[in-house]
């Protein structure tokens, strides 16, 4: 029992280690910016952060279980995710950024897109699903550090303790905790600052625009690094 708790502690630490390494810094900044943009309702940031964490957990559990039941080999899954997810993340971030900046607008009323449509109402409710999907997508965009710690350290730990789901979930929490903490602190401090300066409503609009710019810049950076560089994985 003690060894299981020790292993769960190690899984949590591996997650934190993944999150604070320089490699996923760009996606962490995008996530912090996305989660903490609700200056007028800072508690929403915390709830969005929890959903972002759930998204990450689901991705890691899925990948971990695929590896544990040996559906695919670790090298091909790891290198495949490092290649293709990082290539997908760039355009995805650019598209989300353009939506946040109101540059891109979809007007298909039948599908719920358009002014006052179902999608806009959903987005206005705080993008709960968006936060979870963002967490899931960012977790799947493995970089050398996360691939090494996940496939090289966490998977053997999970295999040794035969408790994959718990290990991968705790690891997912570890990867999200720094982002969740930072985003919540940022949202609360911005809220107090803007409330004191009585500019909350306008800052909310600017925060959304800044989030859009951050997504755009990081998206272009990913496209450059993983698609237009001479050769990458």
């Amino acid at each position: 029992m003690d060894s299981l708790f020790l292993a769960l502690g190690s899984a949590l630490w591996l997650g934190v280690l993944t999150s604070i390494s320089p490699c996923p810094l760009a996606t962490n900044i995008a996530a912090i910016s996305f989660l903490s943009r609700h200056v007028d309702r800072p508690w929403r940031t915390f709830v969005l952060g929890l959903l972002y964490t759930v998204g990450r957990i689901l991705s890691y559990v899925a990948v971990g279980l695929i590896v544990m039941v040996s559906l695919v080999s670790i090298p091909s899954l790891s290198l495949g995710l490092q290649t293709w997810m990082n290539r997908l993340i760039g355009p995805l971030l650019v598209i989300i950024g353009l939506f946040l900046l109101n540059v891109l607008k979809l007007n298909i009323p039948a599908l719920g897109f358009g002014p006052g449509g179902r999608i806009e109402r959903l987005a206005n409710r705080g993008g709960y699903l968006g936060a979870a999907l963002l967490g899931a997508a960012f977790a799947l965009s493995f970089c050398p550090v996360s691939a090494a710690l996940f496939f090289g350290s966490l998977v053997p730990l999970a295999l040794a303790h035969q408790s994959g789901t718990a290990m991968f979930s705790v690891y997912g929490v570890g990867t999200a905790v720094p982002v969740l903490g930072f985003a919540t602190v940022l949202a609360f401090s911005s809220h107090w600052l803007t409330k004191a300066m009585r500019v909350t409503a306008s800052v909310e609009r600017w925060a959304k625009a800044i989030t859009g710019v951050v997504f755009l810049v990081i998206g272009i950076y990913y496209i450059w690094m993983y698609t237009f560089s001479p050769a990458t994985f």
Binding site: L17, P22, C23, A26, P75, L79, V145, A148, G152, W206
Partner: protein, 161 residues
């Protein structure tokens, strides 16, 4: 209006500084005008006769900051601890880009799932055994422990060859 402008300017400066930080930390040498590919990449040359140990560092074309640190620490650990074996040809350090077609087979050979340090012993062209030093990723934050780990592993390989 003035407050709003100041706040926006503050956020914009923060965003710019953060973006520059990201580019710097990720060591994007191409963006900074540096060389596109690291020059020090060997080819998959044949192993000379006799039992010898090869310490490989496998990387891709895009090099992250932590990956470069692992390469530098490992190379330094091998050079500092085994100068004599290196000079005698009993030990060799090789840096290989697994994205080059000639080196792709190493992904399957050594089950590589990320940038890796691998030790392999050879008798002529025949490989006797190999080991992926997977703890380098956990220990990279502590140079002393990292160096001891790599040197102990190389020592074990040299003694049992």
């Amino acid at each position: 209006m003035k407050k709003r402008t100041m706040l926006f300017a503050g956020f914009a400066v923060l965003g710019l500084v953060t973006s520059l930080g990201v580019l710097d930390i990720c060591d994007c040498t191409r963006l900074a005008g540096g060389p596109a590919v690291a020059a020090a990449s060997d080819t998959d040359k044949p192993i000379s006769e006799g039992v010898k140990i090869v310490a490989y560092y496998f990387h891709g074309t895009t090099r992250c900051a932590t990956c470069r640190k692992i390469e530098a620490y490992s190379h330094e650990a091998v050079q500092a601890g085994f100068g004599e074996a290196l000079r005698a040809g009993k030990l060799e350090w090789r840096t290989l880009n697994v994205e080059e077609p000639a080196n792709r087979h190493f992904i399957k050979d050594y089950q590589l799932y990320t940038r890796s340090v691998v030790l392999a012993s050879f008798q002529g062209d025949k490989q006797l055994r190999w080991k992926n030093l997977d703890q380098v990723w956990v220990l990279v934050g502590d140079k002393g422990q990292f160096t001891r780990y790599v040197q102990n592993e190389v020592k074990t390989f040299l003694e049992s060859r």
